[in-house]
């Protein structure tokens, strides 16, 4: 199993969020900066992404669901 492709805290992740390509970094709870692309692991999206890998698709459900397709996961790799 290639753990390097699994999302964890510190991962840089390229996603398609409801079809729009985006770059985010999963950060520790209490870290601010969603407008800069930092998403806390304790947010709804952060919790949903943790442990998933490239190629997975997750849905963060509510009355306004958002579908995240995980395009690329970087864990300290160049």
């Amino acid at each position: 199993m290639d753990d390097d492709r699994i999302i964890k805290i510190g991962s840089q992740v390229v996603v398609e969020a409801n079809g729009a390509r985006d770059e985010i970094v999963l950060v520790a709870p209490g870290t601010l900066g969603q407008e800069r692309g930092y998403i806390s692991a304790a947010t709804k999206v952060g919790r949903a992404l943790l442990g998933h890998r490239e190629g997975d698709t997750i849905t963060v459900s509510s009355s306004f669901p958002v579908v995240y397709k995980i395009v690329e996961v970087r864990n300290g790799r160049k």
């Binding site: 729009a20 770059e23 969603q34 407008e35 800069r36 692309g37 998403i39 304790a42 947010t43 958002v66």
Partner: protein, 216 residues
Amino acid sequence: MAENKGLVEFFLQAGRLKEIKRSGWVNRGVKNPESIADHTFRMALMAWVMGRGKGLDMLRLLKMALVHDLCEVYAGDATPHDKQIERGEHLKDETIFDRWPLRMPQEEKEELANSKRSREGKALEQISQQLPEDLAQEMRGLWYEYENGLSLEGVFLRQVDRVENVLQACEYGQADPNLHMGSFWEQIKELADDPDLVEFVDEMDRYFYSKSNPKS
């Protein structure tokens, strides 16, 4: 007393926030939308109520809430959709407001955020220059702390700010179901990480949109 003249001028400038309508609602075509001061009022109330029991410095939190949008007297109320608005995209497709618009490489996000922060910092300098220096410094410090999430209060308040937006979006969305409010929901799911606020957002979702709820 010379100091009072400066205070009169400061309060007059701050009072303009009672007249400035929030851009996010204006852009969406909300009729008679709230002002920036309206938003600040409920945000401060929410900060107090939702912030209990978290070990936060409540006085600091409430002062921070009061100053968090003061800069908008001069900087204006920037929204994440501003680039699209400039290009007139909302005139062709109102559903742009259903999507969080800042989907881009991280470097671009940093640039946008830094540019906004710089503009707002200068505006706060301008509005606070009439104040005694110690007070002006306190306000600038609180704003900086809020903007950068440098304290527990700052981190919490930034989330409350967006939660208040979502509540207002629910109210306007209920009054006019044709309005497009999805971007607020996309953002809040990526931003709120305080467990109580996350639960509160879920409750708003149920309260306004659950089929079994008469409000929906």
